[in-house]
């Protein structure tokens, strides 16, 4: 099976905010041949704790094993597979796209439709800030590709659980 066809999992991991912890987490993936599609990490409200969001692909057994192994790390406080519950995902992308005479208006129109912000302008390019979930980002980038993308920087997926509905 094409690995891209395997289900994506968004995993949130709370860890001690100490040196070397990130490498323990990523080493666990690489050591077992598990792929990381994206990874974000930053401090939480408690400066002693960091939150890591990892998007990984793999079947049920691989994902179960990943989560157990993550739990096993001494510095891991909590692991949640967000894919198993209602959650919101967002990723931010900065993209510099060619925008010359003919296409300038079209690029702006795409930006407008997808609620992107123009964060930098030159005579021949626009730099756009796009925020959205995985599908939206892909849709925008697909459209912009036709105009010539010069550079892309992505944050990787961030995710949070939805609050429980009463």
């Amino acid at each position: 099976m094409d690995p891209k066809m395997e289900p994506r999992h968004t995993i949130a991991i709370w860890v001690d905010n100490t040196p070397g912890v990130l490498s323990r987490v990523t080493g666990l993936f690489s050591g077992r041949g598990f792929n990381i599609e994206s990874l974000c990490v930053a401090e939480t409200m408690d400066p002693e704790v960091s939150r890591i969001t990892i998007v990984s692909t793999g079947d049920e057994q691989i994902t179960e094993q990943i989560i157990k192994q993550l739990h096993k790390l001494i510095n891991t406080i909590r692991v949640v597979d967000l894919s198993e519950q209602e959650h919101v995902e967002r990723e931010m992308v900065l993209v510099r796209v060619k925008a010359e005479d003919k296409s300038r208006a079209e690029v702006l129109r795409i930006a407008d439709i997808f609620r992107c912000r123009v964060v930098d302008v030159s005579a021949s390019t626009y730099t756009l800030e796009i925020t959205g979930n995985h599908d939206k980002i892909r849709a925008v980038l697909d459209l912009l590709k036709n105009h010539g993308i010069q550079e892309v920087a992505r944050t990787g997926t961030l995710a949070i659980q939805r609050s429980k509905k009463e």
């Binding site: 860890v15 070397g20 666990l28 001494i74 510095n75």
Partner: protein, 562 residues
Amino acid sequence: MKLTGAQILMKCLEREGVKHIFGYPGGVVLDIYDELARTPSIRHILVRHEQAAVHAADGYARASSQVGVALVTSGPGATNTVTGIASAYLDSIPIVVITGQVPTNLIGNDAFQEVDIVGITRPCTKHNYLVKDVKDLARTLHEAFHIARSGRPGPVLVDLPKDVSQASTVPKFPETVKIKSYNPTYHANPRQVARALDMILHAQRPVLYTGGGIVLSDSSEGLFKFATSLQIPVTSTLMGLGGFPGDHPLWMGMLGMHGTYCANMAVSQADVLIAVGARFDDRVTGKLSEFAPHAKIVHIDIDPSSISKNVKVDIPIVGDCKDTLDQLNELLEDKPVRDWTEVRRPWLDTVNEWSTTHPLTYTWDDKVIKPQFVVEKLYELTKGEAYITTEVGQNQMWAAQFYKFRHPRRLMTSGGLGVMGYGLPAAMGVQMAKPDDIVIDIAGDGSIQMNIQELITVVDNDLPVKIAILNNSFLGMVRQWQQLFYDRRYSATPMTAPDFVKLAEAYGAVGLRATKPEEVEPVIREALSTRRPVIMDFKVEPEECVMPMVPAGKAMHEMLLA
């Protein structure tokens, strides 16, 4: 009162109850060694290679149930420990390895004898630390010992820069450990335990498959009670040998690649398989899709990541083996009494038939010593009470097959990593922990040469370790595979060894040799009657194979019998 890092380290070791450490000095641990010389409560055993220090600590830990400790210098001292650490990690042995490190201001500068040992050992330690501030030292060491011995045990490495061992502070020695992110589950979920018992009580053909977890959690009594109450036949992994008495009628022998016909057939035919403290290693399961094909599986393990890793489990139970077996035994007392001997008769009859028609055996030869015969004699003459360490390969498998371990913690072997060169240093560690007991390293002529330098450590410390070399002038196990699967093309497996008798004498040990079967017993008797270290060189049949054998990747019932 202010203490230096080195002094704090000694105090911490004393507080953890450490009596022996195995180590090798060097530049960045000079301050620690200086302090060690002034700490009479801790005896340091100077090894001749750092790898041996870790194996010795490993053997010591297994025999004594205490955390084993190794102390080495930075750079090559640290990298030499990696094999020992990886072995302890795969076998879940509680050890703490203290490595010196270059001063903090030089870390990352490619300084002399600098290596990122924390980075190198991250995937093969349970946890590791770099201590950058002397104020963290006491707490870190206490955590290290706690992590090493609790939950699923394992090696912990503490990297200690030279300036930290020299710096001073007023230490606070913590009484308790609080790591918010580390709380192993000891008490198994009672509902899961009850479900499991229910399934076991309804089984027609149950089998207990036990592993190193039984030994590590000291739960062989609970296992014995459970197995005998319900008359369930028992098999175990290499790591679990001794967890159930090897001379009991319910004992089927080891399972897996070189397991008994009986054990492998029983697992293949079982309707309920109760795995306790074992991890379904490939050497045990053979072809995974055909492992225990008719069985519902109950899996008891303290490490959740071991459960459903290789084999899908029907009733997972996360908990300490001892706690879980105690719960099972208690629940059992409330169940209606049944005559389990009667209930189990058809199944046990089948099992007994397998074991009588296909016992572990070998062809006797009047002229040539059979290696299995040597192990049988060792068993007989030590009455099964010796502490046995092994190297890796044929010697290890014959030790496992022909020495019937009756007690736990009597077999020390590098089961997971399979380290040639483990046996002699491990025997050294065992003998330190058990000075009055008989300790025998069952070795091959290949693997004994991997850490032979430790013979002088043994002599130096008056450790009466016995080394039984099954000398076949081959790397026997690799040769066996070439013999069976590579048309006897013996590529790089014929091997010359030194004259082991002379070698023993050169080191100041006793050297004995047997070349004929009738010489085996006198040689063993002589070795056992001396308080000195002895090498026994048994010239054995060169092309003997370990049988039965399940070829790699085959199903368990497809084993070769001879």
